[in-house]
């Protein structure tokens, strides 16, 4: 699979520097000043939750090339950890932190056996792990089993509070992703993605790097699940551990541009808005659409939206410079 990294030209790289992210951050932070109404705030809130999970997945799936179908485990574990600690009287920030830690711990438990497998075998094992977790959670009496778990709210519901919590988590996720990409770990992950044996020969410990990437990705996804739970106040296993959550978290970075910094954010924007629009009228149609989109992306544009954007930019440049293509 061709990852966006190699195909993104200098234009994208300049565009995706922190300036672009900061501008986006300010725009989203200032949005409630325009009084857009609760529906729009809710839509942006959900999209921010998706951004955090999508950016998290990309650290393992994009940078390190380890495609996982099992991120619903971390979303769900984060959701339940947050719900339980909120009910136990913990503050919002510390519950989210706890959720991230529990999700990271779960990722280590999953990594230990599954990272003995490579590529597609790892991907398929994660389907098994994720589905087994959902079945266990459906039967666990401690968390209410299939009938779900409720947060007892103290005080009035404040939508903007949830909105800014989601914004903070999404911003942290993007910042972590940029830091990882620029660190030694990021280089090690990309080396593993390109050729695991060669990376190992050059002194990278593939197992340890992948374990760390999985834990970071899981922590971000767990926090995303926690933010969602704080808003929804009621969760059930099929909702937060469902296979469609795993699928959503996998599709967003691939649609946007897997392995790039901006791609997962764009993918989550596309997914978040289209999902909300289509979900109401055609509940099944959006997954049909994403399946078709996935097929088209794999066959024609493995770089996703970022890759298409890049090609368009190069095309326009070549045109304007009088056809003198370098």
């Amino acid at each position: 699979m061709n990852y966006g990294e190699t195909s993104s030209g200098p234009f994208i790289r300049r565009f995706s520097s922190q300036a672009g992210f900061l501008l986006l951050l300010f725009l989203v932070a200032a949005l409630p000043l325009a009084h857009p109404g609760p529906n729009v705030v809710r839509l942006v809130f959900i999209t921010l939750v998706w951004i955090a999970a999508s950016v998290g997945w990309n650290i393992l799936g994009g940078f390190a090339g380890q495609v996982s179908f099992g991120f619903a485990v971390f979303f769900g574990v984060g959701a339940y950890a947050t719900a339980i600690s909120l009910n136990a009287g913990l503050g919002r920030a510390s519950s989210l932190l706890l959720a991230a830690c529990v999700a990271a711990a779960a990722s280590v438990l999953i990594s230990l056996p599954t990272f003995r497998l490579r590529g597609p075998y790892f991907a398929i094992a994660t389907i098994g792990v994720s589905e087994a977790t959902r079945v266990v959670m459906t039967n666990l009496q401690f968390t209410g089993g299939a009938s779900g778990y409720r947060i007892t709210e103290h005080g009035a519901f404040n939508q903007l509070l949830h909105y800014y919590v989601a914004l903070a988590v999404a911003a942290i996720a993007v910042a972590v992703s940029i830091l990882v990409r620029r660190s030694k770990l990021g280089l090690a992950l990309i080396a593993i993605r390109e050729d695991e044996d060669a990376a190992s020969d050059l002194g990278v410990n593939p197992f340890r790097s992948k374990l760390l990437a999985h834990a970071i990705a899981a922590a971000l996804t767990g926090a995303a699940g926690g933010v969602y739970t704080g808003y929804a106040a009621f969760i059930y296993p099929q909702g937060v551990f469902g296979f469609d959550i795993s699928v959503a978290i996998l599709l967003m970075p691939i649609i946007g541009g897997v392995g790039t910094l901006l791609g997962p954010v764009i993918g989550a924007l596309v997914y978040g808005f289209v999902h909300e629009e289509l979900m109401a009228s055609f509940p099944q149609f959006h997954l049909l659409l994403y399946g078709a989109l996935l097929i088209l992306i794999i066959l024609f544009e493995p770089g996703g939206v970022m890759g298409m954007f890049d090609k368009a930019v190069r095309f326009v440049r070549a045109r304007s410079s009088g056809g003198s293509h370098p």
């Binding site: 699979m1 597609p120 087994a132 997954l287």
Partner: protein, 297 residues
């Protein structure tokens, strides 16, 4: 528990294993020839079920005949999909993520097409056979299970014959063992792969029709069977047809006898846990275990 109960469980496990083998063999062919993990298998199991269902409810065609009619239909669908998509992704001796994600996308498309066409309510195929039983001494066998087992075993025998006795079968086996050597020996890789993909999908559709006679189904029908099929072919060593039979028997026995030890709610988790366990502990399948032992001694 009496001896008769154990015998009953054992017989029902063996009957289940026949269907499981028919359901998994399509994945093995496709994996063996193309090194592609066919995640869309689940979608074709589901389509096979609805194909038989539609023929039965609209034209009152017997489900058994429907299964036979499904074989050529799904064969052509499979060849079409190979021509349309599979041949466009880079060929490799290792399974690639691109092929995995492509077929996953196809699964999403098929599953949600199913939801659009048939809705999400449970369907079942009920014939006069459904409730009748045979009795052999203390052992009671539902007729439909016996019939389904018979069809599954017959289709596997036919496949075995084709693989052993025809040029296409030899080409398939050559590509499974060593695709470069096969190419040197004059095997048309592209065409063999297309036909093999068609056969794999045809077996998926047939198995879907057989499973539909045993279980109620929705458009989400294939998912759990896909993972079961994967457990079976991993246990069987991924590329061996005899391994598929062994894997199917093991999974069927484990699932059937686990009702004695594991609460019903946790039953679906058995296949999933076994999948992870098989991948991690037995990457070369049961046969690999045997080979390793031989190397040690």
């Amino acid at each position: 528990m009496s001896a008769a109960d154990v015998a009953n469980l054992f017989v029902s496990a063996l009957l289940l294993a026949g269907v499981y083998a028919a359901m998994s063999v399509g994945m093995t062919i496709i994996y063996g020839v193309m090194k592609i993990v066919n995640l869309a298998h689940a979608g074709f199991l589901m389509l096979g079920a609805y194909f038989v269902f539609e023929l039965y409810t609209r034209f009152s065609i017997d489900p058994l005949l429907g299964v036979l009619l499904g074989f050529p239909v799904f064969f052509l669908i499979g060849m079409g999909i190979h021509w349309l998509m599979i041949r466009r992704i880079p060929r490799s001796d290792q399974p690639t993520l691109a092929s995995l994600l492509l077929l996953f996308g196809l699964w999403l498309v098929l599953q949600n097409l199913g939801y659009l066409i048939w809705g999400s309510s449970d369907r079942a195929i009920l014939t006069p056979r459904t409730l009748s039983t045979f009795q052999f001494g203390p052992i009671v066998v539902p007729a439909v299970r016996l019939v389904v087992f018979g069809v599954a075993v017959a289709s596997l025998a036919a496949l075995e014959f084709v693989l052993r006795r025809t040029w296409f079968g030899r080409a398939v086996r050559a590509l499974m063992q060593n695709s470069d050597a096969g190419r040197l020996a004059g095997v048309n890789v592209e065409r063999t792969a297309r036909v093999a993909f068609g056969v794999g999908i045809a077996f998926a559709g047939t198995a879907g029709g057989l499973l539909a006679m045993l279980y109620p189904f929705t458009p989400d029908f294939g998912g759990s069977f896909l993972l079961r099929a994967f457990v079976i072919i991993v246990l069987g060593g991924l590329e061996s047809f005899a391994g598929v039979a062994i894997g199917a028997v093991i999974l069927a026995l484990v699932e059937t006898f686990s009702i004695l030890a594991i609460p019903a709610g946790y039953q679906p988790a058995i296949a999933f846990s076994l999948l992870v366990l098989a991948l991690v502990v037995l990457p070369e399948g049961i046969a690999g275990l045997w080979n390793r032992r031989q190397r040690w001694t």
